[in-house]
Point group: C2
Chain length 583, copies 2
Amino acid sequence: MEELLARIASPSDVRALPEEALPQLCAELREDIIAICGRVGGHLGASLGAVELIVALHRVFHSPTDAILFDVGHQAYAHKLLTGRRERMLTLRQAGGVAPFLDPRESPHDALLAGHSCTAVSAALGVLEGRRMLGQRGHVVAVLGDGGLTGGLTFEGLNNAGGSHLPLVVVLNDNQMSISANVGAIPSLLRTRGARDFFEGLGFTYVGPVDGHDLGALVRALREARASTRPVVVHALTQKGRGFPPAEADAQTRGHAMGPYEWRDGKLVRSRGGQRTFSEAFASVLEEAMAEDPRVVAVTPAMLEGSALNALKARFPDRVHDVGIAEQHAVTFCAGLAAAGARPVCCIYSTFLQRAYDQIIHDVCLPGLPVVFAVDRAGLVGADGATHQGTYDVASLRPLPELRQWAPVVGEDLAPMLATALAAPTPSVIRFPRGTLPALPPEVQVGAAPLDGARWLRRVENPRLTLVTLGPLGLAALEAAREEPAWSVLDARGASPLDEAALLEAAACGHVVVAEEGTTRGGLGSAVLELYAERGVAPRVRVLGMPDAFVPHGDARVQRAELGLDAAGLRHAGRRLLEGSAR
Amino acid sequence: MEELLARIASPSDVRALPEEALPQLCAELREDIIAICGRVGGHLGASLGAVELIVALHRVFHSPTDAILFDVGHQAYAHKLLTGRRERMLTLRQAGGVAPFLDPRESPHDALLAGHSCTAVSAALGVLEGRRMLGQRGHVVAVLGDGGLTGGLTFEGLNNAGGSHLPLVVVLNDNQMSISANVGAIPSLLRTRGARDFFEGLGFTYVGPVDGHDLGALVRALREARASTRPVVVHALTQKGRGFPPAEADAQTRGHAMGPYEWRDGKLVRSRGGQRTFSEAFASVLEEAMAEDPRVVAVTPAMLEGSALNALKARFPDRVHDVGIAEQHAVTFCAGLAAAGARPVCCIYSTFLQRAYDQIIHDVCLPGLPVVFAVDRAGLVGADGATHQGTYDVASLRPLPELRQWAPVVGEDLAPMLATALAAPTPSVIRFPRGTLPALPPEVQVGAAPLDGARWLRRVENPRLTLVTLGPLGLAALEAAREEPAWSVLDARGASPLDEAALLEAAACGHVVVAEEGTTRGGLGSAVLELYAERGVAPRVRVLGMPDAFVPHGDARVQRAELGLDAAGLRHAGRRLLEGSAR
């Protein structure tokens, strides 16, 4: 049969197809998605589940005159394939390639830039109200997962949309999963008549539930929604991972993020790296802490897999809480746990922690409660790109009183850090990067809890320069210093509080390079500069870190080299500083 | 009749009273609240509405064994009066006096420290789960306003509580108001049978609605809730401002925050300062911008009064959006408006902006949308205290790419700043303090839009020292420099981007004092230090700002003097720096 996808350059080509061609189109989209994820990896499960829904959306609505806002965007590979990006799809998530999520700068059919969930309803209501105000036409559609329905931002948007009486179309793509099983009361609610009550109570007309793989039913429901003059929700039941047996069989996440893999003769031939990650090392250390101390409890906002907590959940089902996509609640819930005398460890990615900034300030730091934040994906994240970079945690959290910030250089540092944090009467942050664990070099002495102060990784006599680093950059600094007999290397171990004595010793040598994987605007480098200004010492200081721009998707190792955050970059920066040029 | 309140030292005394004495107790509580707010001002309306509810809570539950968590805490003056703080209530909100909200450090009966709303359900669930885990007994009650029900954090908490099957008691104190009228679909929902459906759908047993001023009914409902073995909500209908005619008659806020006032012979004798505030000046400037440009639209999360937007709302009802207590939605809604081509101005307090940190990063800055953030209450806020200080906006927002930060010295600066921000293709922040407008001194030249760079407030020949300031501190700097012929004064006008030429000129004099009303950890001072390090210049720099601690309630003017953030403090810091001591 002739391939249909080759003829589809934009949604109008989808609308031009005869109805009877659509099942073939959906089959081709699935084949493409499975092949692409096999080659380059990606968000397989959600995208497979949304194939018919996306085809139906493009049959009924006229993008870009009608704006379709996909929440998160990881479910929208079919949308990418139908909007002129098919030929470039094998560059997905790679440097310069197709974006990991959706991005209006990539296509006029991407009405929303998102990588964090729960933003679509609010943004769509804004677009609709803006168009109303400016006299522009076009329908506005927010496509939302049931996982995104547990997030507070979505609820705030629904409450306002329902009260607005504007004809916002919300499409609930209900695959009964966040990344893993959805949590709380909402999943059961959606399986009952309560779904209708819930949305009608919030001021929406409710259409559904509709079989999210029945194209005819979807088109009818969406047409009904399009005709509505008031807020309307279409509730579509879909199957995450549909059409790819290994995903359908994956009970944990239904193939949420997979690959690369080989799919041959109905069998999955997957190449797994198997190298241990910082996340796994932290989960192991946390497991030991939980085994030792019955007060320790873990909390994650829908990141059981990402934070490697599945084994922990199996062992301590009552002491590992997946609260769903609900970052604010995760933190305030931890505050309550701590107030009751428990020792909560909140496992959260740096980028999602941004969602709970006020809860950290107001609910944890202000009452001074001993919550431990295990901040994963701190620094460069690679393929997930700009929406997921762990850039701002150090700078935004450093000003908070009594919040101690730690960062391991090697996985072996995690145990004493967690022990130190759990023994403290005040809150702590332990930030670690995405990626595999480095080997422990002989120069790195792992301390015992309670840790205190910075750690010299290399301390020479009469140094001319000191490299001061945060986290695994200490290893790059050691490497950089190997050819430089007069360079010392200091692992700051954290950005707050500072080890003043060690940093003043560093200052005494006259030249200090501070390097961190995070923004240089307010991070460790600024902390060091503040200290030196307070103490009236003035070494030459060069601060290296992430740039004043959003870092796109790409290979994190390559990006580190490009940003000068590797051994060569540190060596170069140090030499330039010594040569008397600050740049 | 004998005064009952004089005999009440703790909740057990409330429980010891005969039932027939309770109406008198409530009357005395109301009298006290009216008298106290008349003397020292305070959150009158909500506290008057919650009198019977609080008495009933303390009759049914045994604080502190049973934990009662009041959301926000501004409704809980009766609780303060019943828990041993009556004699000190005239020190309310003053330095060293009774806290503006609730604080466990003030009383063991205050189970939650809060000043921001929507935290009670999540925190209460944490306390309950923590107690379960640790084998402790006691009921846990979250008391929530209907305003807090529109906030996403509450919904996240309800979803998790409903799914947990733990016997959490939620008491909905439904006075049909946030600070002003509640918004969105929820208010109508709560007036119908839909309220039951909503809570039952979220996994709660629903008790109510109950008359929140009928003590007998309240006690019965709360007893039923106490006996529940699963999550339960008691829906109490109350009247904000009840029992105080001027509050009952106030259609806008029902006497939300009043006084001081005199209440004599059934008449309100109020002394209004009448001095124009920064909020009012900004609202005027915004009104002009809206009159000129039909694309401009204002958004506030439940702060119509606080942000002085009532007149604007009356004039442009369709272009001023109160979205309720929903800070995240406010910002993402603005992102949608901007994406549609509108020019949204998000009016929000510095402390509440923390709630939307991720939305500013991910929804506004990452796509580079031209949203203007009018950040009110930036810096010291006085009587509202630690939960409301505007401390972290500069430091947390400064690292964000393309986000321009502005701060007016005088009210006259606001017009060109807003015009500059509205003309920019990228997002902007305009931060201004709580309080009255200063007079415009002759030294301050108000520029015309588009503003660019810093502004010399005083530029002497051969300066020995430059004072660099942000916002109205420029006036204190001018005052400080009046006795110092060799001091220049530079208004940085913002913290990002920096005016490098002006700051390098400042550096050339050898001594720079940077002063800001915000944290010194990552703020303007750090920005200046970063610039100097990058450029390889090393003047002596002293950074003044808010301390590394939460600043409690008190008189902001007194606190400024104590923190050295007034003319005397700046002069002292400058002189010390010149004397060669950095401290």
